[in-house]
Amino acid sequence: MLFLILFTSLLLGGAYALMAMGLTLQYGVARIMNLSIGETLVGAAFAAFWLQTQAQVGPLWGLLVITPAAFVLNWLIYRHLLTPLVRRAKNRGMLEVDSILATFGLLFILQGVMLALFGGNYYSYSYFSEPVELFGHTFALNRIVAFAVAAAVALALYLGLNRTRTGTAVRAVSVDPVAAGLVAIDVARTSALAFAIGGALTACGGALLSMFLTFNASMGVVFTTKALIIVIMGGVGDPRGAVIAALLLALAETTVATLVDPGLTLAATYGLFVLILLFRPQGIMGRRTA
């Protein structure tokens, strides 16, 4: 039982981690608290569904379309919708309130478009759904494939952030945008890049989740809540924290769903959140600021 719970949460945590890393880049680097991230995720799930059922392109190949498309879309959103807010904000608090309200706008518009296209029904499709025997337990192959892809993407991101010039610039802006500007880093461009990568990661997570979860047009908010809680738990701006927190959250959810009741997963999430707020508000990997 213990093994089953651990392994199931690990498989689920992979996709959560991608989404949370996406949000932590958008919030920690580009300073945008993106409350429409769940809609990005669900949008990508619908795109994967459409590609699989209408265009006969499987979600793994679909990722090659969905991820770049999300990158471009998020780049445009940052450049045209959010940059004016960044420019006019006198301080971080103002930008936070403005970005929260603007992304609420995006949330409802994206949700409205998806409702118009797909209605309120639940969707799912079958892909790699054959069972696999692992250590005496049965798992669906699609969950394992999704986890493997998520792990590969997360590793690529980690290397990209830590081994490349651009990655260093991204991390520098995350620590201090003003100081980063002083050492000739183009803060506006780096922020846009981080926001776009964040969107792409989230979309990637959404396409992977769609392989084994049923979804509908108004589910985004649930994922946004999870992503937000993971990011706060992990420590804003730290992708490693996001991974650890995503796995913890998946573990809490799976444990409660298996042992208590599947209807109480959100309660488990909130329980974890409250513990973090009370005892370590700066997050697991976060630095305590003065």
Partner: protein, 323 residues
């Protein structure tokens, strides 16, 4: 109280009395619209009592509203109505106290995130309780109250919220809130217990919203968690308050009327497009009306008086420079 305030009070009293006559004229469409307007005015004004000066965007409205409605589900048939309303207010305040204690000493973002999922959390908990312990999901509400009575109660509640807001603005509490909204560090170093002030206001705001939920509950006759804890209410209230302007007591009122009418129209004719309306409204506020209609009016007025005083003052200023 100065003469101007007495006049405003008298005018508001007359206006309320006039509005209270509505059910005598019409019991159908207009009364329904009146109920919905009065409910949203009370909620968005109560929302702005806390969120206006502090800039903490609260999405807990649906949670308070649903809590109030569920107090009616559980007590409506057994307890006298005034007791039911008081219990609803207390429950709303308690919920605000719990949510606030976990988040209000932290940043605004922690607070938004916590309230973002709060209604959904409570909905899940209530559903879980009802399926596993309480018997059935969803219950009938049998309270003998007419639509006109609901409308009157909501009007009275609006009056009460405005009175509370007015009293707060004149008190130490109101000044403390304005200081917190401007600069929390200065507030703390001037001797303001910032966490306690925020918590207190959040509780007052939550109590009022819970009472609105309780008053409106009998209109449904059948209540289930997804109706009572509908997170759309939270977003609508935020939009209305911000559209009108959340830094003035009368601001939300200005936002409620056009938005409610538009929302009723769109949900009547194009039920699938309410999301697009909400989204557009948010973007409109952020990009074109960041201070709301009230803030915009104030800005224009300030600019005008400024121009006048400058015209009047310029000789004096010259004199000062010469000295």
């Amino acid at each position: 109280m100065n003469t101007r305030e007495v006049l405003i009070m008298a005018a508001s009293g007359l206006l309320l009395a006039g509005l209270a006559c509505l059910p005598l004229a019409d019991e159908g469409f207009w009364l329904t619209l009146g109920i919905s307007l009065a409910g949203y005015v009370a909620m968005s004004t109560a929302w702005a009592l806390f969120s206006g000066p502090t800039s903490y965007v609260s999405l807990a409205t649906a949670a308070f509203f649903g809590t109030g409605a569920y107090v009616v589900v559980n007590l409506g048939e057994t307890a006298p109505w005034p007791v039911v309303l008081v219990v609803a207010a207390v429950c709303g305040a308690l919920l605000a106290l719990l949510a606030g204690m976990a988040t209000l000493r932290l940043t605004g973002v922690h607070f938004v995130i916590f309230t973002f999922g709060l209604a959904e959390l409570i909905r899940q908990l209530v559903t879980w309780y009802q399926t596993n312990i309480g018997g059935a999901v969803g219950q009938y509400v049998f309270v003998d109250i007419s639509s006109a009575q609901i409308y009157w109660q909501l009007l009275a509640l609006c009056g009460l919220v405005f009175l509370a807001g007015w009293a707060i603005n004149r008190s130490r509490l109101g000044l403390a809130l304005r200081v917190i909204g401007d600069d929390e560090t200065v507030a703390a170093h001037s001797g303001i217990n910032t966490a306690r002030v925020k918590l207190l206001l959040f509780c007052i705001s939550g109590a009022f919203i819970a009472v609105v939920g309780a008053v409106l509950a009998p209109r449904w006759t059948y209540i289930e968690p997804s109706i009572a804890f509908n997170s759309m209410i939270s977003f609508q209230v935020v939009i209305m308050a911000l559209l009108g302007g959340s830094r003035r007591l009368w601001g939300p009122l200005v936002g409620v009327i056009p938005f409610t009418v538009l929302y009723e129209l769109i949900s009547g004719h194009f039920p699938n497009h309410t999301h697009l309306l909400l989204g557009t409204a948010f973007l409109l506020i952020v990009y074109f009306l960041p201070q709301g209609v009230a803030g915009r009016i104030e800005q224009l007025r300030l600019r005008r008086t400024h121009r006048e005083t400058h015209a009047a003052r310029s000789p004096a200023t010259l004199g000062e420079t010469a000295r």
